[in-house]
């Protein structure tokens, strides 16, 4: 099947730090792919490179058949490639419904759409998605008053509100109560299967990623160390070494 995202030999340096060095990966349309690697191995940097947070030093990034490596963040998002943040980001001083409405994707942003009311039916859509992540009861509370885990869920719902083609999730289960993690896995699978959204997931929790992903990439020291099925990754000596701190 065709790839929706193709990252080709991307390098990103911060001064002397080689955060990404010739990194390549590709994600098939409709799949769930994992991205693992020790702390500081360059996973978040790769996400930032993909969505255009910073210019990359080398390489190409193709999304849905389009070169996107020079596009600014909002333009990439408008193409249907969204990311969530490792340090969860929500709009704290407005309520959950408003967070959702802000996140709905206006195809055009001109004087007319900017000064129009947010369509009524979006509120209903927002409520349904909040139900989906289990936050319906809290919909009128300020998002900043939610617990950390709830904010993570809200951030997921906000991303879904935008109806992206593909989602880059930066540690969706970090900080979430272990008893709730299975719920998150189920929901991510639903997002993928039923909403038809391709997922690229950064995850430190091995159990989660092994259950979720069909294919896994492993970064170490900014370079792509290995890739393969969960089985292959689990038994890859290089990956084990990297995680045990031998690298």
């Amino acid at each position: 099947m065709a790839s929706i995202l193709r990252v080709d030999k991307v390098s990103k340096y911060f001064g002397g730090v080689k955060a990404n060095q010739g990194v390549s990966l590709s994600v098939r349309t409709g799949s769930i792919v994992g991205l693992i690697g020790p702390n500081g191995s360059g996973k978040t940097t790769l996400f930032n490179s993909i969505v255009g947070t910073h210019p990359i030093d080398r390489g190409t990034i193709e999304f849905d058949g389009r070169e996107i490596s020079t596009l600014p963040v909002p333009a990439v998002a408008k193409l249907g490639l969204l990311r969530t943040f490792q340090q969860t980001r929500i709009f704290g001083k407005v309520n959950c419904i408003q967070n959702m409405l802000i996140s709905s994707n206006p195809t055009k942003e001109n004087l007319i759409t900017i000064f129009s009311k947010v369509p009524e039916e979006l509120t209903e859509k927002a409520e349904n998605l909040l139900k989906f992540v289990g936050l319906h009861q809290k919909r009128k509370l300020l998002a900043g008053d939610l617990s950390f885990g709830q904010q993570k869920l809200l951030e997921l719902a906000m991303a879904l509100m935008n109806e992206p083609k593909m989602l880059l999730l930066d540690e969706p289960t970090a900080g979430i109560n272990p008893t709730l993690i299975n719920g998150i896995i189920d929901r991510l699978i639903t997002v993928n299967k039923e909403f038809g959204i391709t997922l690229l997931v950064i995850e430190h929790n091995m159990r989660v990623i092994m259950n979720l992903a069909q294919e896994i990439y492993c970064l170490a020291h900014g370079e792509m160390l290995a890739s393969g099925s969960p089985e292959e990754i689990k038994n890859d000596q290089r990956v084990l070494d990297a995680y045990l701190g031998a690298g």
């Binding site: 963040v73 998002a77 969204l82 990311r83 407005v94 408003q98 994707n105 000064f115 919909r139 935008n162």
Partner: protein
């Protein structure tokens, strides 16, 4: 709730319409109160709703003032001669010239600052936080210096605005006329902002305030909203400037037009005092501030700015969220924060 609102709006409207007849001695003071409300409301678009502290909005006020007066004069007479030496004595506006000039002047006083806001905004609204704030700090100062060097608008000496034409009522009528112009401008500012805040515009300004990177990551071209917001502020500020120039009758670069140290600071103070990021906060803040200032300024002869400093400290310490924030804390249900039972339970669970 809805009815209370109506009563509030009605009361303000009646007060606004009756004030010049009920308190004829205070017409001018109340006119300036409406001007201050405009300053606070327009500052709050950036400083409150959008979370961008700007110290440069006075720029648009001053530009509006100069543009308005220059148009009023230049439409009928050579501006250079007018400003060179007491031109208002040589050239006299007929009533129709006066009102035509004033209308054209006020329109341009709105439009030109909008264009300036768009251009400068495009250049500096990409800056975040303190960088933006410091950058705007320079704007008003630079504008004052610049205006002080332009001969045709009177340079450092300043210029006079066209005097009220002969044969059209006395000075009482003149101040009533300008009173209603300021009141209408204030109403227009308030009504427009109230309308715009209920639209996507208002939602996104708040999103920018809360987390601009996130807003961009959700596909929002935040720059467009930021520039538009500044253009809106510039429009109403420019008109306010045009009006003040005419009310004072004399325009000077740093004391009247680009008054960074007085109006430029007051607008921030008033919005914070009333409660920034709320619709009514700047209105209430400006009114309270003006009454305090007019009422007590004379008691502090020579110490006004010390008193002002103390006021700032008191506000920041005792009303960090402003009067509206404080009221909201005391009477949450009055602010539509009626939490239904399910939500209340949810809140308990949260804690």
């Amino acid at each position: 709730m809805k009815r209370n609102n109506l009563i509030l709006y009605g009361a303000l409207l009646v007060f606004g319409l009756m004030a010049p007849f009920l308190f004829p001695a205070f017409k001018l003071q109340i006119s300036f109160m409406w001007i201050l409300v405009i300053l606070a409301l327009t500052w709050d678009v950036q400083g409150g709703q959008m979370g961008y502290n700007t110290f440069g909005n006075i720029l648009f006020f001053g530009i509006g003032m100069y543009i308005c007066a220059s148009t009023q004069i230049g439409l009928f007479f050579p501006l250079e001669e007018w400003t060179a030496s007491g031109g208002e004595k040589t050239f006299l506006h007929t009533p129709s010239q006066y009102f035509l000039g004033l209308s054209a002047g006020l329109v341009l006083a709105g439009i030109v600052p909008v264009i300036v806001a768009a251009l400068i905004g495009y250049g500096i609204l990409g800056l975040r936080g303190h960088y933006f704030a410091i950058c705007t700090l320079g704007l008003g100062i630079a504008a004052g210096e610049l205006a002080g060097g332009i001969e045709i608008i009177g340079a450092g000496q300043g210029m006079t605005a066209p005097p009220w034409p002969k044969g059209i009522g006395d000075t009482e009528f003149r101040s009533e006329f300008f009173y209603f112009l300021t009141f209408i401008t204030m109403l227009a500012t308030f009504t427009f902002l109230r309308w715009a805040y209920q639209k996507r515009f208002g939602l996104v300004l708040n999103a920018i305030r809360d987390n601009e990177d996130k807003a961009e990551a959700m596909g929002i071209h935040t720059m467009r909203y930021k520039i538009l917001g500044w253009m809106v502020s510039a429009f109403f500020l420019g008109i306010a400037g045009g009006l003040v120039g005419n009310m004072v009758g004399y325009i000077e670069p740093t004391e009247i037009a680009f008054t960074g140290a007085t109006y430029g600071v007051f607008m921030i103070l008033m919005a914070i005092l009333g409660g920034k990021g709320t619709l009514w906060g700047p209105v209430i803040g400006a009114m309270v501030f003006h009454i305090f200032k007019e009422g007590f300024w004379t008691f502090f002869l020579g110490w006004q700015y010390v008193a002002l400093g103390v006021l700032i400290v008191v506000i920041v310490i005792f009303f960090p969220e402003g009067i509206m924030g404080w009221l909201r804390e005391k009477f949450p249900e009055r602010f539509g924060e009626v939490i239904d039972e399910a939500d209340r339970k949810a809140q308990v669970v949260l804690k």
